[in-house]
């Protein structure tokens, strides 16, 4: 088969696979689970064609571990899962964050908790994506809302992961994963591909976790002349286990710093509709598509409504949300969960702007009429 290029028509999960392969991913390990299984199936088909390996692991614990293993050996690696599988992956997600191993984890959110409505969409994992693994830790989470964006953000997820030596979660949902629409896949030479930084010191002076001004380590792949030690225990610059309180403190603070200081690079949002409006809808993923329709309908009705769409979930777009809070008279937050992002917006609401949360947890997508009637109710 040939690499798809130019205008294409495909499913979200399919676009994700081509985005990953274009980003340079050559290893996938996963356990089939609805509604993410197409990603595994397509990796099984296409990865060997580009010299990569697809591996169906025995469970999600092992899948995430194998992804870490492949990445430490220098191969860009990823996995995809959903619902209970995402829960099992939290163990080694923490390992990848702590040991700074680049990799990508795709979560096609489905209704939960537990087995839930396995084939129905939801957005209930926003907080789990942020805090699911134990201990203080930073994370990058991106949320696509179209097939095109699924391709683009998969590529971006790998790039951010390599650039900042951190796992990146692509937090999609059943709607975006399974929908089919047009997208344009660029020529290979038009893609920007980021690869992890390699050692820049003589072997004798090399310490894998020693950072320069950027707080980002230069971890050589296993097999290179630079011997690398990676440890899930508290470790010092050498990578070897080191249990001094100061070492633990410095390590976790640096992990946070490397993301905090690069928020501008990492955070992406989209403003849709008038730049300033009385009502601002803050939405993401599948629901942001509904919200766009509402903005268009509102314009026809002569209502002043815009949309702040979160493309980066975490780190949270504090500045952009604060802007929305200061500009709008009312904030509406429709989500397929019980208000996980609405709560986060409340945290930033020093101006006490009224925030209305619209929630759905029945496996059905939020309809434009639900948002519109809320708007009409609150601006009356």
């Amino acid at each position: 088969m040939k690499r798809p290029v130019g205008k294409q028509f495909m499913q979200g999960n399919e676009a994700c696979v081509f985005g990953a392969i274009d980003a340079g991913a050559r290893f996938y390990a996963g356990y089939p689970i609805t509604p993410s299984s197409e990603i595994a199936e397509l990796c099984a088909k296409f990865l060997p064609q580009v010299g990569g390996v697809f591996l169906q692991m025995e469970d999600e614990l092992g899948s995430m571990a194998a992804v870490i293993g492949a990445s430490t050996a220098g191969t860009k690696a990823f996995t995809a899962t959903s619902g209970p599988g995402f829960t099992l992956m939290q163990e080694n997600l923490g390992m990848a964050i702590y040991t700074e191993v680049p990799c990508v984890l795709v979560n096609i959110q489905r209704n939960g908790p537990s087995t839930g409505l396995a084939t129905r969409p939801a957005q209930g994992d926003v907080m789990q994506a942020r805090w699911g693994t134990h201990g203080d830790h930073p994370i990058i989470v991106l949320s696509p809302s179209s097939v095109q964006e699924f391709y683009d953000l998969t590529l971006r997820a790998f790039n951010l992961s390599e650039k900042y030596s951190i796992p990146v979660i692509l937090l999609s949902d059943e709607v975006i994963g399974h929908m089919r629409e047009d997208l344009v896949i660029p020529e290979l030479e038009d893609l920007v591909i980021v690869n992890r930084k390699l050692p820049n010191k003589p072997i004798k002076e090399y310490r894998a976790y020693q950072t320069e001004n950027d707080d980002i380590p230069r971890i050589a792949p296993f097999g290179s002349e630079y011997i690398v030690h990676i440890s899930s225990s508290c470790h010092d610059e050498t990578g070897f286990t080191h249990s001094k309180p100061q070492t633990a403190d410095q390590l976790v603070r640096r992990l946070h710093r490397k993301i905090e200081r690069n928020q501008e690079d990492i955070i992406q949002v989209e403003w849709f509709g008038p730049r300033k409006a009385d009502v601002c809808i803050i939405a993401y993923g599948a629901v942001s598509r509904t919200a766009k329709q509402v903005v268009v309908d509102a314009q026809e009705k002569g209502l002043s409504v815009n949309l702040l769409r979160l493309i980066t979930h975490w780190p949270f777009p504090d500045e952009q949300v604060k802007e929305a809070l200061s500009q709008a008279k009312v904030i509406i937050v429709p989500e397929m969960n019980l208000g996980q992002v609405a709560q986060e917006i409340l945290r930033l609401n020093s101006l006490q702007t009224p925030i209305y949360s619209i929630t759905r947890i029945d496996g059905e997508i939020i309809m434009p009429s639900e948002i519109m009637s809320k708007i009409e109710e609150v601006i009356r």
Partner: protein, 274 residues
Amino acid sequence: MSTNSYKNYLKEEHFPHIWCPGCGDGIVLHAYAIALAELGLAPKEVVTVTGIGCWGKSDDYVATHALHGTHGRALAYATGVKLGNPVLTVIALMGDGDAVTIGGNHFIHAARRNIDLTAVVINNFNYGMTGGQYSATTPLKSKTTTSPLGNAEPGFDICSLAEAAGANFVARTTPFHVVSLKNLLKEGIQKKGFSLIEVITPCPTYFGRYNINSSPVANMHWLKDKAVSVSRYQHMTDEDKLQHFAIGTFVNKDRPDFYTMYQQINDCKWEGGR
């Protein structure tokens, strides 16, 4: 090669190690370093993968590449490392907890897949690091801190498990039989496909104290007395078998490993890909 070249594989600056007096882990570490030295593998060609537990600390003392991960996942990381760069020699050092208790699922599937790895499993019949609780290999009726009156569960036979799952090389030895230990490690590492070397190892501090004796010397005598060759074991009465365990090689075959099969079956190329 000089007799001390095993030192190239060790981080002696991290000694003395954390293990208790008479703990077998140090003997296996030493044999591991000698095996690598005698095989002439450069430290950069080897990735040592460890899990959690007393033996899970062994990566602190090796000078090869190393990956020390979460409890039970060593073989899953190792699988990824091997497939991420198939020229590497990847060796997982695990305890009975890592290998066949919390990580049992990865163990049987790594063996079934016949991935080209070596698993060195130290079996001391309990969790030493957390204070001597029972594991999936603790024998029936043995005393541990979570089976104070005796274990109500029977233990796994790790070698039988690996054999049934499909490993290419399966062997058992002890740190008392240190020459065979070193040789089996070498054989296992050289074998293409999944190799298991189970090392029945003393934990004088817990399992030994509760079930054998707390003296390191007594635990070594126990290994000496209990271990018999595979051929001798086969001719023992059932009653005698209960009092002994077999050491030596149980399986040595050449089923194609996972990556070889994978490449053979998926022989197709993507035109114009990167």
